[in-house]
Amino acid sequence: MKLLFENIDEPGLNTLEVYARRGGYESLRKALAMSPEEVLAQLEASGLRGRGGAGFAMGKKVSFLPKGSIDKYLVCNADESEPGTFKDRELMQKSPHMLIEGIVIASYAAGANRSFIYIRGEYVHQADMLDAALAQAREAGYVGEDILGSGHSLSLVVHRGAGAYICGEETGLLDSLEGKRGNPRLKPPFPANQGLYQGPTLINNVETLATVPTILKMGGEEYAKLGTETSKGTKLVSVSGHVQRPGNYEIELGIPSREIVYGLAGGPAEGREVKCWFPGGSSSPVLKKEDLDLPYDFDSMAKAGSMLGSGAVIVVDDSTPILDVALKVAKFYRHESCGKCTPCREGTNWTVKMLERIDAGTATPMDIEIMASVQEHIIGNCLCVLGDAMAMPIGSLIAKFRDEFEAHIETARARAGLGASEQALIAQRELAGEVAHA
């Protein structure tokens, strides 16, 4: 079932003319004929959970905003910086009005009168498409003062970032939108109470907001019939890495993960097997090939010790050393750490150094213990989850591929001419003993 991606490549869908011909902005009319409370009830009934990574119930998030006539803000998080994620890009480029319509409806429910789309600076083409669509929406009276005579007014600005992963974190994004360095803030207070310019702010991901017109069209209860008990609706998944048909796919939540990796994306090349896969971006703990039978939804992924995250499935086949994967991931988070919290700043740096030691042949098996303990000390000890975003996948790689890390240490030591470590000598002796018995 395609809700967001239905005829996504229809020529001119990015224009108001084609979008309106397909029933675009009808959901907005429907919403404005209801009270904001009724719109909110539809969102809550839909069971829609945030599509950006945290999976928080969207309706509940809206309901957290204080009532009354204070200045309230809506911010659309279009920073899409989690490695492996590229779904919002396709949506914004091809169907920008769907997002704009969703923003206007959500702002009505939340009572927000100023809104912003914070889009990552690298998405030049997508930002241009949004700007063009926004100009048309303004012209048609869907954005601006007294929208369609409803009395609801909303300004909307497309704000371009300038390259920083951390600005996808909601409070880092807010600081960046205020013209500062994108350092995350201490929570609480949460943005719903004190967000942009210290005002109550609703922050949602592109896909979440783009789903809102569909919910109004179908009705919240109808939408909730899709998916599973706790993961309602459809989800865009971005599949990449070692698959034959990488790309974005719209799936109903709860289908077997194997169906995504093999059925849709074609699996690894002929003769190769899945070694591990990230179910929700590079910050999600990795799963192994036997986990491919798990249903792909929020709770099944959490129960397996990982997370659905942004819906970015990254597949690694058996041709890639696990150390390469770990090093790539760790280096990224080291680069992107803002440096504010010590466990993250130092932890990402030392993890990279230890992984490099392993590869250089100067590590001992003890380094694996130290590295694992560094990850444990990062988690939960920083203002934001950037450090955790490295610690979770690295911790899972160590736990699930310990043998390979140990073997890598030994091979690299031998290559570097340092000789095998003590443990390896014991292992060799045991092996020799077994051979003698045979």
Partner: protein, 177 residues
């Protein structure tokens, strides 16, 4: 006369920065778009670019310098005018991005016209390995594409048109059924 008034700012740049400032309840929110505009005029966030932006925005140059150093797309040193960002993050790297980056670097890294950089995930893993060339996404790239890519940029032609992401249709075949 205050110091801010003594700084000359190109009229177009001033107008662009002021237009950005007018969009926000707090004009300081315009820092990123303003610096981006100044970078377009000056080629990088030079001390001059920062001073001009600061004088229009009514903030200190030090404030803007702190902002500029935080973001990857704001250049705090002189760079070539054509940017080639090669994504070297996990998905692209699994598909050969590190070799691709080295090939681009070897072919254009020494050319002062180019700003060749390895870049964190650009959000286009469906066309891995890929690059953003002056903001245009192209991929999947092979090392054999590099000469054509550079030639297109040097001759001001659209870069590798058949490999531009903007033209790609959705991978989900049922999406356009």
């Amino acid at each position: 006369m205050s110091q801010a008034e003594q700084i000359e700012v190109p009229e177009e740049l001033r107008a662009e920065i002021e237009a950005h400032m007018a969009l926000y309840p707090d004009s300081r929110s315009a820092a990123l778009p303003a610096l981006e505009a100044a970078q377009r005029v000056h080629g990088w966030c030079s001390p001059e670019a920062i001073e001009q932006t600061a004088s229009v925005m009514g903030v200190t140059p030090a404030y803007l310098e702190a902002v500029a150093t935080f973001y990857d797309m704001l250049e705090t040193e002189p760079v070539g005018r054509h940017s080639i960002y090669v994504c070297t993050n996990i998905s692209c790297s699994l598909c050969g991005a590190d070799e691709l980056f080295q090939a681009v670097q070897a072919a254009a890294g020494a050319d002062p016209e180019f700003n060749v950089r390895p870049f964190e995930c650009l959000g286009a893993c469906d066309i891995a390995p890929m690059a953003s060339v002056d903001g245009v996404y192209v991929g999947p790239l092979s090392i054999d594409d590099v000469p054509q890519l550079l030639d297109d940029v040097r001759s001001d032609r659209p870069v590798l048109p058949e490999k531009q992401l903007a033209r790609r249709i959705c991978a989900d075949t049922e999406a356009n059924a």
